[in-house]
């Protein structure tokens, strides 16, 4: 057993940290205030990121590299691959700014979805496409099996109809991965994902939402009105296998949940570090010496937060490690997301509290982080959805038994 991060990731972590420090932090407040303004600084960065991700690391990192590794017989032993690399990279980027990290071109959740279910030809076709992810509808959020957006085969084309909301990077991306049903009466097995490129007739950007936090990231509502796409844009297999249920489309989540957990870990660490340094300037230094009950109340708070953060971090690494090694990690991915999401929210809120008005006014980023963190306990499955998934696995219950 070894819990320390292998040296081979040092370069990647350092690069991501430099981006966070030198690019994200200086413009963090600017795009928090100027919501919906395009962060032009990121275009240059995106090309650098592409280079980083295709670099010499085993398998690379980034949304497009997320994949459940099937155990290759030729590579015996333990692997630390692209899932771990992505988790480590995103932790650092989100230490800088969550909203900006979500706005990085070609690092969208849609790219993760493509990586998870696309065939070889599709992987090649969408290699350089910035893809967002569209699942949620006005009347279907966590209950993603009840989406009403339809895909109807007409000759060599699918016709998409419906409305999608809460699409992260929906305004800026080049394509959208849309969940739609081939046949509503066949339930979740008929839900497939489709790539719809921007500019396709019948696709309309309805609006961009104003939000509590992560304002640097655009969140779009998009309507599809008889939007025609080539049938090759259906990701994965078009057959409706009622045995397999959600099959492919849900696989995405096992790989992206640890990444969102990693984002929460990065954000929470930023908040703790800044709070520690502010406390230090007031003469309070953490020494981890006296038992927690013999410490000052604020020290005890800090120790508990650090312990929770460490738990979130290790759960996240575990889920990524399992994915890298081809182990089914659905329970662990949800555990990581549940723990990291709630922990980041609690930590950022408590840090704002401990720092008094320094935590509440805009002189520091603490109040922003306390707003940004809330989304991490909501998107990619809310706290409650994660608990439901974990509980079903632990209790061995189906979704019809434990609703």
């Amino acid at each position: 057993m070894n819990f320390e991060i292998p040296k081979k990731f040092n370069a990647l972590i350092n690069q991501a940290h430099q981006v966070a420090t030198e690019v994200f932090r200086p413009i963090s407040r600017k795009y928090d205030v100027a919501e919906h303004e395009y962060p032009v600084e990121l275009d240059m960065l995106a090309s650098i990121m592409d280079g980083m991700n295709d670099g010499d690391l085993s398998g690379g990192a980034g949304a497009a590299k997320l994949k459940q590794d099937k155990n290759d017989s030729d590579t015996a032993g333990v692997k630390n691959g692209s899932n771990m690399a992505t988790v480590l990279g995103l932790t650092e980027l989100c230490w800088g700014d969550v909203g900006l990290a979500l706005s990085l071109p070609r690092q969208g959740l849609g790219n993760a979805a493509i990586a998870a279910v696309a065939n070889k030809e599709q992987l090649e076709r969408y290699k350089n496409t910035w893809a967002a992810m569209a699942i949620t509808e006005p009347d279907a959020g966590s209950d993603s099996a009840s989406i009403t957006t339809t895909a109807t085969l007409d000759g060599d084309e699918y016709i998409i109809n419906g409305e999608k909301i809460f699409i992260t990077a929906g305004g800026r991306c080049e394509a959208i991965v849309v969940w739609a049903t081939l046949n509503k009466s066949l339930g979740r097995a008929a839900i497939k994902s489709f790539v719809i490129e921007k500019g396709t007739p019948g696709m309309e950007l309805v609006r961009l939402d104003k939000k509590l936090g992560i304002k640097a990231s655009d969140t779009a509502t998009i309507r599809f009105d008889n939007c025609r796409i080539p049938k090759e844009n259906l990701l994965g297999n078009s057959e409706i296998d009622t045995q397999k249920g959600f099959g492919g489309v849900m696989q995405t989540f096992d790989n992206t949940r640890p990444v969102v957990a990693a984002m929460a870990v990065g954000l929470a660490r930023a908040s703790i570090e800044l709070t520690q340094s502010l406390l230090k300037s007031s003469g309070i230094a953490l020494e981890y010496a006296a038992p927690v009950n013999n410490s000052l109340a604020c020290e005890a708070e800090m120790y508990r937060m650090e312990a929770d953060l460490e738990a979130a971090r290790l759960l996240t690494l575990k889920a990524a490690w399992m994915a890298d090694n081809g182990l089914p990690n659905s329970k662990e991915a949800s555990m990581a997301k549940a723990k990291a999401g709630r922990t980041a929210n609690q930590i950022t809120l408590k840090c704002a509290e401990l720092c008094s008005t320094l935590g509440y006014d805009q002189s520091q980023l603490l109040e922003k982080w306390a707003r940004d963190s809330k989304i991490l306990d909501i998107f990619e499955g809310t706290q409650q959805i994660q608990q439901l998934i974990v509980a079903r696995r632990m209790l061995n219950k189906s979704s019809s038994e434990l609703k």
Binding site: P291, E332, A391, L402
Partner: protein, 438 residues
Amino acid sequence: MAKDKIGIALSAVNKFAGSPLVNKLKLRKPAEKIAYVSTRTGFQVISSASVKVQQAKNFFTPADTRDKQEAALFDLSLSEEQQLIKDSLNRFSSEVIRPAAHQADNDELTSEAIFQQANELGLAAYSATAEYGGYSDTPSTLTNVLIAESLANGDMGIACALLSTVSVANALTRWGTEEQKTSWLTPIIKSLDQPQALYAAIAVNEPTPLFNPNKLITNVSPTDGGYKLNGKKTAVAIGDKADFLLVTATTPNGRQKLFIVNSALKGISIKPSHNMGLKAAELCSIDFDNVQLPEDALLGDDRFCYQTFIDLANLAWCGLAVGCAQAIQDYVVNYCNERTAFGEPISHRQSVAFMVANIGIELESMRLLTYRAACKAEQGLPFHREAYLAKVLCSDKAMEIGTNGVQLLGGHGFIKDHPVERWYRDMRAIAILYGLHV
């Protein structure tokens, strides 16, 4: 002369093969196919087809380099040895300890038979190196944590009783001088197959609110040729059985040290104390009234680090917490699936299911923090912060899981037909006690 590796292996095999427990616990499964050999870090399983080749490999491959290569990657898998120790002790735990737990709690006593069986398994021998009669070359903190976890999965009180002497062996191995190891450690290991095994215990806690192990009331003052020990210790596991004690005390210059104290010395009075839980651990209060200690009673030399001693004590309790939390989790999962209300299993209700999910999430959190701290300790890396945080998390979450375990069973959780009320009482100890060492 110290045994060489083959000698150590043979003596371990011998000990194992001779124990009726091996059959009873199905460790011989099937005997023709598996031979147990003890090498550097403990048990090793070898399939008979390749016994000779494997043995040769194990004896001639320097294990250190092998470990280091593996350590380069983030890896959550246990070594073969650790897995085997875990499996064997889990079986001991479920087939011997758990069935005895209720009675032991009631009697406030861990039976002779259980001590004997633990000795037959050579529990303490894995805490000592070959020179002192033990099985291991290098003490493994993680393996010690895994042992605590496995035993506490059966019962935390009995685990405490069994780990008391083991902890003293761990502490002597890590901190003792050559002479101290020869005088105190070797006899423990040698006594394992004697009719009367030696017992020992570590005394840290004192009867004061907000007890802080860095501010002890128990103290020593120098005398001609030794020390005079005064003070009072509480919650010392198997205190009345212990042939000798490791006692923490403040020295005149305000530092905390450990002293090896023969419990037969004049001025020592030991009384059983009755506690909320951990009853099978036979916790005792001990008074020290001008106890005259020889000069070599001071444990170790300049390399002794009291903070590290406390960190390793904390990790022992974290290991116990993880084992007990796992027992609670397994129990409530079963119960909530079987108990019906309003026409369906109560596990079909989110308010119930989410409590179970959170037990799972926080238990895994406890486990990962504990293992990481233990791994860093074993790798020779600084691990104080990690151990501290593991203790902080385990203290809170152990009790949370303990109380939710009872809650999920409702009224049934409150009566002694189910073990959850005992686990509730035991878990309260995690944040409080120190007297163990991994």
